[in-house]
Subunit: 332 residues, 2 copies
Amino acid sequence: MDDAELVEQVSRGDRRALARLLSHIEDGREERVRALVAALHPVSGSAHLVGLTGAPGVGKSSLAAALVAHWRAQGHSVAVLAIDPTSPFTGGALLGDRVRLERHVLDDGVFVRSMATRGHLGGLSWAAPPALVALDAAGFDIVVVETVGVGQAEVEVAAVADTTIVGLAPGMGDAVQAAKAGILEVADVLVVNKADRPGADRALRDLADLQEPGIGTAARQGLTLPDGVEDWDPPVRATVATATGEASGVGALAQTVAAHRDWLARSGLARHRARARAALQLRELAQAAVRGRLGAMAGGTLLDDLAAQVADRVLDPYTAADRLLAALEIER
Amino acid sequence: MDDAELVEQVSRGDRRALARLLSHIEDGREERVRALVAALHPVSGSAHLVGLTGAPGVGKSSLAAALVAHWRAQGHSVAVLAIDPTSPFTGGALLGDRVRLERHVLDDGVFVRSMATRGHLGGLSWAAPPALVALDAAGFDIVVVETVGVGQAEVEVAAVADTTIVGLAPGMGDAVQAAKAGILEVADVLVVNKADRPGADRALRDLADLQEPGIGTAARQGLTLPDGVEDWDPPVRATVATATGEASGVGALAQTVAAHRDWLARSGLARHRARARAALQLRELAQAAVRGRLGAMAGGTLLDDLAAQVADRVLDPYTAADRLLAALEIER
């Protein structure tokens, strides 16, 4: 079967074709990925992309599973792209947490895919954006991208999602640390999961205190809202979603996510966000192309020679970098 | 005073000149930073660069302060470059933790500088590598770069340091999570700080269990060691270093850091690491140059037009990125 046929099957909702196509994306042969995205991109754009992130131990996978169950009960189809940090040493993703999503394994309205970050620590895989295009093009109502929130991850998730949920848990470092890490700037919805644990009230209170009333999403970006549309102040929700399957507060969380989507449409930010996202993606793809060409130089004579000269203090790093850049081939 | 004179004063050990020069670096006028680094680089290379990282709440600043006090008592001069994540919203670095390092404020053998990451979450500032060259050139025996370890940060610190210390604390997420985040791959020395707290024994045991005997630093990189030199298995140390000033285990930690430096020299890895570090830095500088040029396009007509076409599904992202890249000016 050629790729055009595969894309056709994916856009008709064929789950096995989708799984195969995602494997092609993960294989990462650049020309093929480009061709697949070029074919899928025009039929994408209707899914609600939900980012779900937070530090290790927040219970993101359990929360994702609870949200999926809720959305399924409401009749929505849902895809989950779970990004696993890979240890470059052990070489494998830790998939244990994922297993409980498998209870939907026979449900065609749910699709779960794990993707390793391959050498990145946290953050998204380079393959995540093309995979999201594929899941979107496959016709899911909601596409969740779940990633462990360490460092850049929240920002990267927010950069691809319509609605970003940042999860916290009681006692995992206080809210000041959360502010320090900048997560309040990227969250559309904040969730304190494991809210039945000691310290939950305090975490909820601290988060509420940190918010600055009247400085919502649009104000922060200097955007003017249409008449009658109020700004969005990222709400704080409390949930209990654990590996054993109990869940509370998940319905309210799902409602908040839906309200945010509605607000994005009414405020005009949906379109603004889509364009900003595209601009960011273009710059990243261009940078990735340069990185790829620089990476291809690793171990090569030019880079080795320049590095040795810098290490031996014969050449300063900026001059050496200029020489490296000059040797790059940029097509124009 | 011109920059040549400033560099001259810095390399003679003038602390006020050093502070002024670091401000010039932070100002970030590219041509000036290049010229300063070109002048400082030839006289750098003798300091022991120690990276200190770990999640928020580990007590890194207290540990840094305790190490500085220990090294000073041994007669070493020490500089600390403390990288603070900046909230893009509040615009300021949270400097509270830094204050207690100020007890060395009248000691010319200690120099402490905070640097904001400016919009990055965690990780190093772009200004950190040139600042480290300056601190090294200023003649400090030991230069510590301290950063909150979220995501890329550990990797970035390890990429600039001779010896990387990764700090953990009891009960802050277990050792499996640490492994998941890949920190064991970048740490030369592991420290469980706050080792008087409940859960410390377990954290120490878990970390020890995770290590694979016989797979040390050299083996992991596929390097052959000279006869009679054993491989380095990152040791696990326990410390108590708190804001109130009590400290234990810090002497043993400092000894381990010194032993690692000695091993780097004996094994030949010091030179190998310096070259690998230079190669990485060159690639990063080249990428940064491209990123700068792409950044200069933000808000410009070409990027806006291309982003709108991608958001409207008129153009696929890869084709648009090609057009963006073709518009870059790469000197050759």
